[in-house]
Symmetry: C2
Subunit: 166 residues, 2 copies
DNA sequence: TCAAGATTGATGCAGCTGCATCAAGTGGGC
DNA sequence: GCCCACTTGATGCAGCTGCATCAATCTTGA
């Protein structure tokens, strides 16, 4: 065994795990109580509606959302089952397909967006000044394997819709 | 709909979700690769071995670990199946029972503890100075529903074993 | 004393995750 | 053209989670 973490590092680890799960839970509960589906659905709809054509390849979605391939596949199943998205054939590559957001999908995305924003404000925004939120971001970013971050966007328009990876 | 979160708050939310899952994943993978069971098992064993008698009521365990009742019940099932803990009858309250850690359980707890510490140091400690880790703690604590925190311990001995709630 | 309500722990069910694997299709080297 | 490696997406299986509910026991209060 190698080095041991300091008390501070251990405390940070514990907080990171506990607080995240508490905050996530609080937000998810708020949405669920309002009759909305899980956050992952929102994230997928957000990605799809961000696309100019309203459609994407599952591979693309997978990369954006940072979730495994099978997870994407099943998420799409559920969205399709609920009429929020549709699978379209992909003529360029017959292995693949396109997922297209439906009108119902766009509507849900919009409504959920409101509730989601409200929940974030309630459980995060209201507890931290903007300066502190920025500090928190900076510290958390240091923990990310900055390597595969890529993070090309986030620069301008509407702060890129919230999209946790789970 | 009420107030909207600031860009900073939204960014903090996204980071909190993404980085946590990334770091947790990294730590869990390290442990899994070393042949260890999930972290929740460690947490439970840690609670049990912290008890002077090596045994606890499930209700107690549940409160310490901040996981739902049924989850505790099944976690105990698995620990018992693997010979890491045993159920003992509780004479004072016939509804209840005691869960006792076994010798095998203590041994696993010890071995896992080493690997766990190493992983925390690798994925958290090594990326943050102690001062920054402390800052991070402070910021995260502000997000906790400080209400139900209780947090009576953590004061002295071995920094209380790490115990995320999931 | 005894009935109503609370507490403790277990469990059936549905849904989600991760893992391994599969079939279909593509593309590059020869 | 043909073969082999790779990519794309789906799926069977096992395990875990959350929800609802259950049986057993304890506690309270009339």
């Amino acid at each position: 065994m190698k080095r041991k973490p300091s008390l501070e590092a251990t405390a940070a680890w514990i907080r990171l795990m506990r607080i995240q799960s508490r905050v996530l839970d609080a937000v998810e509960q708020d949405l669920k109580r309002a009759g909305f589906p899980p956050l992952a659905w929102y994230d997928a709809l957000a990605e799809l509606s961000r696309s100019p054509t309203g459609e994407m390849r599952p591979v693309e979605l997978e990369k954006q959302m940072l979730i495994p391939q099978y997870s994407t596949s099943r998420l799409i199943d559920r969205l399709v089952d609920e009429g929020l998205a549709a699978r379209r054939e992909c003529k360029m590559d017959k292995r693949g397909l396109f997922v297209e957001i439906t009108a119902a999908g766009r509507e849900l995305h919009k409504k959920m967006g409101c509730a989601y924003s409200t929940a974030i404000e309630k459980h995060v925004g209201s507890k931290l000044s903007d300066a502190d939120a920025a500090k928190l971001c900076g510290l958390l970013d240091r923990l990310g394997c900055a390597c595969q971050e890529a993070a090309p966007t986030v620069t301008s328009p509407a702060a890129r819709d919230a999209a946790p990876a789970r």
